[in-house]
């Protein structure tokens, strides 16, 4: 590898470099700020916002003009349209999460600098996950992301539920990682390769010959898929989601619900479509995913019906949305045929919309609270619309969008998914998906009803002031949801689908 190659690689991977160096920079700056000068810590906020905007802009530039597309470092990292589109979604999510966390962290008496730096590390890990092209790179970047999130889940150190959340996430996450690693070992055992392309070539031969190694590969597939389904919060590995989401600080929950999911979907799609593309393997994982997606949609939506805590409700709704995206993956595989190209438009568009509306909903939820008082249950937010109409209106729009009501982006997302599913002639899946979507309208509506609930016409509500940063996130998300709801084509342009 000569100098120009290294330079080219650095140019292609600039976003990861920017994000991780800013994360380090923040840690260094933090060390020089005396503990009593809390207000000076906002500097880390502005640095991370700046860094994320630059990285996001650069990623969009890369995707639009094909800058730095290619393989680097001996093929272990591959920059392509697919990875860049997922990275853009991740960066949008991170930017919104950092924005929404600012005053919230002071409110819950957490450390701003470390938080931002951990979020940025996790983001760097996620972007690497979407671009990784061999098992080692993938695994390491997956762990960079996970370890940062284990810490973040327990970031509210004096709050018992947050500790519980971190502990649960850590133990279960470690288990899943261990199984995934075992799966990778099986695959390595079957093929003797670590790079995705080589593994795929060998697995194709093995699958045709049906040797013992074929079954070894099948074991590997099952274990790796299990690890992914855990991170995605899909049935039957979804039980940790509500507990962890409820306990973690709300902005971390927003980050887990969106960024982690996007990264996990990126690598799931890449591994399933690139490595296990042989007919004998794909028929297996398509069948498994069909069952998983149906059960995930049903479990998520029906469990959400009885929730009274909004964070738990959003956790179950997140599970349900995982089910919808899994549908899109199945549809993409079934309609793929013999070609190598993957029709990811439904997956990408849904993830983009899901990221925006979920973070928007969480940001609005943070905005309903104030120091020492976080509103979390449906009872807490009763009549909130009369205290702060603007926040309530954006929140209502996010929940309508999650429910998939037309004129919001959520509808367009569901439309493209169901259209793809029906194109692939998977009628049963489409019908189940639409029925569960009807069910979901009920519980999303409960939140809106709560917001506008008024028991006594004459009751007065104290006005609730909301910090500018929550408002900014909620407003930008609101605009994007409406804009993408009317002009979905903009999303396609952005992600270059």
């Amino acid at each position: 590898m000569n100098e120009t190659e290294v330079l080219k690689a650095l140019q292609a991977l600039l976003p990861i470099l920017i994000i991780s160096s800013i994360a380090l920079l923040i840690l260094i700056i933090e060390a020089f700020i005396p503990p009593e000068q809390d207000e000076n810590r906002t500097i880390s906020f502005f640095i991370s916002i700046g860094g994320m905007i630059i990285s996001l802009g650069y990623l969009i530039y890369q995707l639009t003009y094909d800058v730095g597309v290619g393989s680097y470092f001996g093929g272990s990292i591959k920059v392509d349209h697919f990875g860049l589109a997922f990275s853009i979604i991740i960066c949008i999510g991170t930017l919104m999460v950092i924005m929404a966390s600012h005053h919230y962290l002071i409110r819950i008496k957490s450390n701003l600098g470390e938080f931002n730096s951990l979020i940025l590390f996790a983001t760097a890990g996620m972007i690497m996950v979407t671009m990784s092209n061999d098992m080692m790179t993938f695994f390491i970047s997956f762990e960079i992301m996970s370890v940062a999130l284990f810490i973040l889940a327990g970031f509210q150190t004096k709050y018992l539920k947050s500790n519980e959340s971190a502990m649960k996430y850590f133990i279960l996450g470690s288990f899943s990682t261990a199984f995934m690693l075992l799966g990778i070992a099986f695959i390595y055992g079957a093929t003797g390769e670590l790079a995705f392309d080589q593994i795929a070539a060998v697995l194709d031969k093995i699958a045709a010959a049906k040797t013992d190694d074929y079954y070894l590969g099948l074991f590997g597939l099952a274990l790796v898929l299990g690890g992914f389904l855990f991170k995605l919060g899909a049935f039957p590995f979804h039980q940790w989601v509500p507990d962890v989401y409820e306990g973690a600080p709300t902005s971390v929950t927003a980050f887990m619900a969106t960024g982690v999911k996007t990264a996990a979907f990126a690598i799931t799609v890449r591994i399933l479509f690139v490595i296990f593309k042989a007919e004998d393997y794909s028929s297996n994982w398509v069948d498994v995913l069909m069952a998983v997606s149906v059960l995930t949609m049903v479990a998520g939506n029906f469990m959400a019906l009885v929730q009274t805590n909004i964070k738990r409700l959003l956790a179950y709704s997140g599970i349900a949305h995982t089910g919808y995206i899994l549908l899109a993956i199945i549809a993409a595989k079934v309609s793929q045929g013999k070609t190598d190209s993957i029709d990811t438009h439904a997956i990408l568009f849904y993830l983009l919309v899901y990221t925006i509306m979920t973070i928007g909903a969480f940001a609005a939820l943070i905005g309903t609270g104030k120091r020492g008082l976080d509103l979390e249950t449906l009872d807490d937010i009763k009549g909130f619309a009369y205290k702060n109409p603007l926040v309530a209106m954006t929140m209502a729009v996010f929940f309508f969008s999650l429910a998939g009501i037309p004129s919001t982006a959520g509808f367009m997302g569901k439309l493209f998914i169901f259209k793809a599913v029906i194109s692939a002639k998977l009628y049963t899946l489409a019908v189940i998906g639409i029925i569960t979507a009807i069910v979901s309208v009920y519980y999303y509506l409960r939140v809106v009803v709560s917001l506008y609930y008024i028991k006594d016409e004459t009751a007065t509500f104290p006005a609730h002031r909301t910090r500018w940063n929550y408002m900014l996130v909620a407003f930008v998300a609101f605009m994007l949801i409406i804009l993408l709801g009317f002009f979905p084509q903009l999303g396609f342009y952005l992600l270059r689908i």
Binding site: M393, P406, I422, I438, Q489
Partner: protein, 518 residues
């Protein structure tokens, strides 16, 4: 150069809503009035812009006609991903409904001048968005676009009932939402199915495509259920009285005036061109349900003591007439070579149904306005609380009388033309249906006149009623155009009927729908 008039009147209310949301009105007392005035400005501008549409539509001799286009189509979503486009069109079926929408919206805002005191900005935004959704659904010439606007109507109405309604508003709003949502999601599934049958969402493509009869039945079931809930046809009507009673006046007026017509509009737009087979096969089912609606609605109206509830049930009865007209078949002679009798959907009845939709929108809208006015004064809608109002409020009594007579269908007023055409068409096809429907007309006269008598005639015994003020200038201004239009539509029906003929002719010529009886 043609002016994109449809898009203009479609997006003007939306633009107004966005502008209202962004503009910060001062904190002074007149703030609310300014917001309402702005709302009236945007909706009146929309109405003014829509007048040339009415005048020029179907008037080929006009030299201005080349400056306006009644159809627009633009790129919307990448056709490689989904075959749809922004395609809007106005034809003889939708023209009058669009005008009705733009006509009623400013009136509803003016009607809310005093009654809406809380969260005025949001209210006006909701009304304008509702207008946007309604015009969109009426002009959409693409299934996806149609569904899109169909649902946009839902959310503002949900908020209008849920926030500005009376005591039991949350229950009514949620019931309204769930009912309509279930219907629309069924329609959504059917829409996707049609898309994969036809390969495009465009109406033109769908209308030209022949779907096989068995599939048609399933798809029609989904569509019909969705529209039946919206109309509402018996037995899907239970949300309507709740929604009407709880909704604020403006909400009731729009609900009765336009939203209910969306259901019948859906039937007339899709039933014949897309689902000819089930439409003819199950016409009797719909006719019977419509008859049950007519008589049941009228009986229920007779039993009500709450004025608003009475009018709500009268809507069910009147929309039964519209449905009866849309599914009226009449004999057109023997089948070639056979002994079977051929039936064809009645042209007159369909025309009458369209006319009745407009007439009902006007008269029931006006009735809700009138009820709203008396409610503002007395804060009750119970008939018992009134009596002898004719002496205290003479102008009010006159307005109420004209509206009542228009609603009953007195010759010379708007209600007569539609009911007459429908009854004529129905009678030719099936005497029994005609007779039963005619009893509905009689019952209609009974409950409306009983209402009128109890509220206005006799001695004014209640002390609270003696001091009631008659209508003020604002109220007269908002009622006058409606009353005037009722008379114009009653005296010169041909002007309005002519607007429909061109489209209805092609509808009947291109697709002869023959029902065979064995």
């Amino acid at each position: 150069m043609t002016f994109p008039i449809i898009s203009f009147i479609l997006f003007l209310p939306a633009l107004g809503a966005v502008a209202l949301m962004l503009i910060q009105f001062g904190d002074d007392k007149d703030k609310d009035k300014d917001i309402k005035a702005a709302g009236i400005f945007f909706s009146s501008l929309t109405f003014l812009a829509s007048i040339p549409l009415l005048i020029l539509f179907g008037d080929a001799s006009s030299s201005f006609i080349s400056n306006f286009s009644f159809e627009e189509q633009y790129y919307w979503i990448d056709p490689n991903i989904i075959k749809t486009s922004y395609h809007v069109k106005i034809d003889g079926i939708s023209i009058l409904l669009v005008i009705l929408t733009t006509f009623i919206t400013p009136i509803t805002i003016l009607a809310s001048w005093n009654s809406i005191k809380t969260r005025v900005k949001e209210f006006i935004v909701c009304i304008l968005l509702l207008e946007f959704g309604m015009i969109g659904a009426l002009t959409a010439w693409d299934f996806l676009l149609f569904y899109f606007f169909w649902e946009i109507m839902l959310i503002p109405m949900y908020f209008i009932i849920g926030i500005w309604g009376s005591e039991n508003k949350i229950y009514a709003a949620v019931k309204f939402f769930i009912y309509t949502m279930v219907g629309s999601l069924l329609m959504f599934i059917a829409l996707l199915w049609i898309y994969f049958e036809v390969g495009s969402f465009d109406f033109n493509a769908v209308f030209q495509h022949q779907i096989d009869p068995e599939t048609q039945v399933i798809l029609f079931a989904a569509f019909a259920l969705s529209f039946a809930i919206k109309v509402p046809i018996f037995p899907f009507h239970t949300w309507l009285p709740d929604a009407h009673v709880q909704a604020p006046t403006a909400g009731s007026v729009i609900l009765a005036g336009i939203l209910l017509k969306m259901g019948t509009y859906g039937f007339i737009r899709f039933a014949i061109p897309v689902f000819p087979h089930p439409t003819t096969q199950y016409a009797d089912v719909f006719s019977v349900l419509a008859l049950i609606g007519i008589i049941y609605g009228a009986m229920m109206a007779l039993a009500q003591t709450d004025i608003k509830k009475l009018i709500a049930y009268s809507s069910i009865s009147h929309l039964g007439f519209v449905m009866l007209g849309l599914f009226a078949f009449q004999a057109v002679g023997l089948a070639p070579g056979g002994t079977e009798q051929q039936y064809q959907i009645s042209y007159q009845a369909v025309q009458g149904a369209l006319y009745q939709m407009i007439a009902h929108g006007l008269s029931t809208g006006a009735l809700f306005l009138l009820v709203g006015m008396i409610y503002e004064r007395r804060h009750t809608k119970e008939m018992k609380a009134f009596g002898g109002l004719a002496k205290v409020m003479p102008i009010y009594a006159v307005m109420f009388m004209i509206t009542t007579l228009a609603s009953i269908g007195l010759p010379g007023l708007s209600g007569f033309v539609g009911e007459f055409l429908i009854l004529m068409g129905t009678f030719q096809g099936n005497r029994l249906y005609g007779v039963l429907a005619a009893t509905g007309v009689i019952l209609g006269a009974v409950y409306m006149l009983v209402l009128y008598q109890r509220v206005f005639f006799g001695e004014c015994t209640k002390a609270e009623n003696l001091s009631l003020k008659d209508l003020d200038a604002r109220e007269i201004i908002l009622l006058l155009p409606m009353v005037a239009l009722m008379i114009i539509m009653g005296v010169f029906p041909n002007y309005f009927l002519d607007k429909m003929t061109g489209t209805l002719d092609t509808l009947f010529d291109t697709i002869p729908h023959i029902r065979w009886t064995s």
